[in-house]
Structures are given as C-alpha cells and as structure tokens.
C-alpha cells in the first residue's frame, strides 16, 4: 500500500512539473476564462437583441393565451400551472417573460437584467396590444411588473456555467491528450515496463489534473468575484465539493476516452462528440426551459449538467449541502464508474 502510494505520488509529481513548466499552456489556462468572462460582460451590457424568446403563461386562461402567443414569430410559449414556479424560472433566466392571466388585466413580468427581457416585451406584449385594438393607440391592456431587485443578473447566472465549461475543457482534453501523446511516443510503454499499475497511473493523472484545475478555478473564481462582485448565497462546502467531484468525473471521462486510443485526432473527435452536446444541453449558456422533455432527460446523463445545476443552486439560490447532495452523489458515482472502466480497458502500448 505504501509502495503503491509512492508510485502514485511519483506520477503525480512528474505530471505537475510537466504542466507547471509548460508556460504557454499554463498561461492560457489562466487567461482564457477571463477573456470569456470579459467578452460576456461586454456583450450582455449591450442592447443587442437575441433572436428568440421563451414565454410562460399561468392562470385560468393560460391555454387560450398560449395559443395566441405561440402564433407569434420568434416566440415559444409554454403553460406553467404554478405561477410561483414560473416566476422562479424567470428569475433564473430559464424564461424571458411570464404572463399571469389570473388577474384582470393580465400581469406580465420580465427581468430587467435578462438579455432577452426587453425583446420578449416588444415581441409579445406590444404586438398583442396592437392586435387587440386594431393597431390604434393602445390602452393599458396589460400590467407590467419588473423583477428588478429580486432576479439573478444574467452574468451571475452564467458565471457557474462558465466555470463548469472551463473545468470541462481543462479536464477532458487536458488529461486525454497527455495520455494519448504518452502512448504514441512510448512514455506509457516505458512506464508499463515498471511495476506501476494502470490504476496508480490513472489516479495520479486524475489527481494531478484535479490539483491544477482546482488551483486555476480558485484563481479565476476569486478574480471574478473581485471584479464582478459575484456572491455565493449558499454553502461554500457544497460549492467546493461540486467543483471537486464535477472536475473528477470529467477528468475520469477524459481518461476513459483515452484508455486505448492511439491518435489525438480520434480522441479529439470522441471528446468533441461528448463536450459539444454537453455545452448545449447542460445549460452552460442558456436555459433548456421549453425544450422537449427528452432533451432535458438526456442532459441528466452528463456530469456537466449536475456540476452547473448544483453550482447555480448554491451560488444563486443559496442551496445547502443537503439540497445538492443528489448532484454530488451522481458525480461521485460517475467518477468511480468511468475510472473503473478506464483501468480495465487501459493499454500501455499501441496495438
């Protein structure tokens, strides 16, 4: 056991040294997320209208209003029975506008900081007002309510997604390319000729990547908090555990992809096939609200979904460790499954 740890430590140390001394990769790992965040803060402070809006209709007349709204161009309307649930989704940028038909005149709500709130108002409410009155000057058919002060600003909503995305790319590509390169140039063959076991090697790669990712994530997190004033409303411990196990599961996924692969092109293709769906369905950029139920179910098989969803719950909604425990358990299970399969499939040499 002691020797096994010594072998693990030897690999862990060597890989860390390789990464830390590769200054170009190291610099890029730190700089890229800041570029991304700056880009987004710039983009979402502009009045540039995005191109589609999601509307929820609640109340007794929801069905008839939904039919009228759904006929409008560039608008997707859904019925949500529970008005509180609809408001909550609006606050979390899963919706762009909520129309409550329980009151007369109907009340609509938008988030002042949402990137598509203004667009939704123009596309739906103004159009409906004009249609109701035959394009003459409209009376106040709807009552407007703003979520200002209670909503989660879009950048705050996006921040956990950006961190998750950065962890995902740093995890899967970092570890898989290194393993494939080692296999191609014979380093793995040399290591395999020693008493080193696949599990020792793979867990050292996982730990090394984890150490580097946690370090870079901590730097990016702190820097972003200072620059943009993000808050963690819930449990810090839960957030750290989510980042830790989220990264572990994604690194293990990268290791699995590289367990037998001999070419960077192949492993790159396999990982692109995995990461791009995650980018779209794990709600990195935008909510999946309104998308078909099967897509939302498929999203649950991806570790990134659990990482981002859990982190948003903690950072934006003040969730506790218990509140996100199921996300954590899923991430731990995925890590162990991916790592076990990788150890069983692993090859030191080319075929």
């Amino acid at each position: 056991m002691k020797k096994s740890f010594e072998r693990f430590w030897s690999m862990f140390y060597a890989r860390n040294m390789e990464f830390l001394r590769d200054r170009s990769s190291l610099t890029w790992s730190f700089v890229f997320p800041f570029f991304l965040l700056f880009g987004f803060s710039f983009v979402f402070n502009r009045d540039k209208p995005p191109d589609a809006v999601k509307i929820a209709v609640t109340g007794p007349a929801a069905q008839s209003w939904q039919t009228r709204i759904d006929g409008l161009p560039q608008v997707q309307a859904v019925v949500i029975a529970d008005a509180a649930e609809a408001r909550d989704k609006l606050a979390h940028h899963k919706l762009d506008l909520v129309l409550d038909t329980a009151q007369q005149p109907p009340v609509y709500q938008i988030s002042e900081t949402a990137p598509k709130g203004y667009q939704a108002e123009q596309l739906v409410i103004r159009v409906l007002e004009r249609k109701a009155l035959g394009n003459r000057a409209p009376p106040a058919v709807f009552t407007r309510q703003s979520l200002r002060g209670t909503e989660v600003p879009y950048l705050d909503w996006f921040f956990p997604g950006m961190l998750g995305m950065n962890i995902m790319f740093g995890s899967v590509f970092g570890v898989s390319y290194v393993t494939v390169r080692y296999r191609k140039n014979g380093v793995l063959k040399r290591l395999g000729a020693t008493p080193l076991k696949p599990f020792e090697y793979l867990s050292a790669q996982l730990a090394s990547r984890m150490f580097l990712l946690m370090f870079t994530t901590a730097v990016i997190f702190t820097g972003s908090m200072l620059m943009f004033g993000f808050q963690v409303r819930g449990s810090w411990l839960a957030l750290i555990l989510l980042f830790f196990w989220g990264a572990a599961s994604l690194i293990a996924l990268g290791i699995l992809a590289a367990a037998r692969t001999e070419s960077e092109e192949l492993v790159g293709g396999v990982l692109n096939m995995t990461t791009w769906p995650m980018m779209f369905v794990s709600e990195v950029w935008f909510s999946l609200e309104g998308s078909p139920a099967w897509i939302q179910q498929v999203a649950q098989i991806f570790p990134l979904t659990h990482l981002i969803t859990g982190a948003r719950k903690v950072m934006n909604d003040g969730a506790s460790l218990t509140d996100v425990s199921h996300h954590l358990l899923i991430l731990i299970a995925m890590t162990l499954v991916f790592l076990s399969i990788s150890s069983a499939l692993f090859r030191w040499t080319k075929r």
Binding site: K3, E6, R7, W9, S10, M11, Y13, A14, M17, E18, R21, D22, N185, G186, V187, K189, R190, L191, G192, A193, T194, P195, L196, W348, T349
Partner: protein, 294 residues
C-alpha cells in the same frame, strides 16, 4: 550454469505477416545474449514479447523456471529501442521519478556514475544529445538492480564515439554479473559484447552459438588479398584456391600463418598484402546470401 530465461516456440502473427515464427532459446544467468539480424528480422518483436510489452500469439516464456508474474516486472530492466522521456523534467528528476516506482532500488549515485550522467543531471530531458539520452535510458533500465536486462538496439543512430562509450558501459554492467539480452544489427557490437548469439532472419532463428563457434562453423577460411601487380605465374601451384578479382588475387585458407610462410619462401613482395578474418557479417552472408544491412 542455471537458465534464467527460457523461450519456447514464440509466434507473433499479424494479419498477412508472421513476424516471429517459432523462436526458442534458453539463456544462462550472467551471459550476454545477442539477437543479431537485419532490420525487420523480428528481433524487437521477439524481445518485446519476452518483456511482456507485446501480446504473443503463441508460445511460452519462463523466467527462473516460472511463468512471468509481478516479480518479473520488479526484477528486469528494459531499454526500449525508441522511447521519449517525460517532458520538462531534468535528467535527475526523471531518474528519481522512475526510481520510486520500484520496490527493489539500486543506488542512484552508483547508476549515475556507471552511466556517466553526473554532468547532465540538471539538464532538461529535451536538451540532451542522442548519446546522452541513450545513457539515460540505460540508467532507467538499471534502477531496480535488475538481474536480467533487455537492451533493444541500444546504439542505433549514435556516432562511433558515443557507441564505443555505451559499449564500455554495457561491459561494466556485464562485469557485475548481470544477464543481458541485446538485439542489434551491428555485427561488431554483437561480436564485442555478446557471449552467445542467435542469428535471426524473417522471424526465425537461423543458428546459435558463441561468436567464435559461428565463425568457425560457417566461415572457417581467412581471405588473403594479394596485389594484382604480382605476376600470376608466381602464384601457380599453391595448395589453396585463388580467385582474381578487380581488387586483387584472393586466396582462401584456414591458417593465414601457413600461407604467409609459403609466400615468403617464394620471396614475393608482401608490402600490399591484406588479410581479412571472417566475422559475423560473413556468417550472415553465408546463411542468407544477403548482407546484414540490406
């Protein structure tokens, strides 16, 4: 002497190619055993199957009379033909990284001295010469104080001085009583370093023995070349076969001393005479009709 390694009927079959075809041999402890053959003969495939880094199609390998197990990994040292090193690490860090992987550990200082690495310990792996890299790879193969050491084409691509330097190190390792298995396509390397040789071609072992035995068995004659300026009639009635080639008159005999004695009795000018003793290259030529480098 007891056998440390026994190989029985090794076969490696690839689609459309039988790379190794029924190779068998046994190596005694403390011996330097050479697999000599041209590129593509199947030497590396054979040695990698024995090292357990390549799956064998069929056959058996016994280490100290037993099938190879975890003990084999702990007790053998391997220098592969082509291996990259961990990047951004120094020579010293590389040695320490691999050293920690073994339960049985040799003295690092002794290995550094044996492999002449003292001057480059702090140097980045990426900034060492080919000869230095080979010495480092050899050092990695010695870290666990191995009883059996595999050296696969250890001097390929090295300049003559670096090759001789590495031969000295291998001699030093031999002097420690280690068993060495060496593959090479350099006839001089095999002749200088190896106690036992198996000549290999097209996946098969053609013959085995000590270098001296092989030469005596397949090329028992020395070739004495006399200049063309010697009149042909002066060479008449000699008891050896004489061929006249563009390079001179070639005379083949078992004993060069006897030839020289007769020629001196005839009072011939022997200042431009050359004597070629047969070597393993000639053995391979006799066995296959081809040169080792073809």
């Amino acid at each position: 002497m007891s056998s440390i390694l026994e190989v029985r009927d090794l076969v490696k079959q690839y689609p459309g190619l039988r790379a190794v075809d029924g190779v068998s041999f046994s190596i005694d402890a403390g011996v330097c055993f050479g697999l000599l053959g041209p590129n593509g003969a199947g030497k590396t495939t054979t040695i990698e199957m024995i090292e357990n880094t390549l799956d064998l199609t069929s056959g058996e390998v016994f280490y100290k009379g037993q099938p190879r197990g975890q003990k084999f990994r702990e007790e053998v040292g391997i220098q592969f033909q082509s291996t990259q090193l961990l990047q951004y690490l120094t020579v010293e860090e590389t040695l320490k990284t691999f050293h920690r992987l073994y339960t049985r550990q040799a003295s690092l200082q002794q290995i550094i001295e044996t492999c002449q690495l003292s001057d480059i310990l702090k140097r980045d792996n990426r900034k060492i010469s080919g000869g230095q890299k080979q010495r480092l790879l050899l050092a990695l193969a010695l870290l666990n104080e191995p009883e059996l050491i595999f050296l696969d084409e250890p001097t390929t691509g090295m300049d003559p001085q670096a090759r001789r330097n590495l031969w000295d190190i291998v001699q030093a390792i031999k002097n420690l009583g280690k068993t060495v298995i060496l593959t090479t396509h350099y006839m001089d390397e095999a002749q200088i370093l190896c106690d036992q040789i198996s000549v290999m071609d097209k996946g098969k072992i053609l013959t085995s023995g000590t270098p001296k035995e092989l030469i005596q068995r397949y090329c028992p004659h020395v070739t004495i070349q006399l200049p063309l300026s010697l009149p042909a009639e002066t060479l008449q009635n000699l008891p050896w076969t004489i061929e006249t080639t563009p390079g001179g008159h070639e005379l083949h005999a078992k004993d060069a001393r006897e030839v020289l004695k007769v020629l001196m009795e005839r009072d011939l000018d022997l200042s431009d005479i050359s004597i070629h003793s047969p070597n393993l290259e000639d053995v391979f030529l006799v066995l296959t009709g081809r040169s080792l480098r073809e």
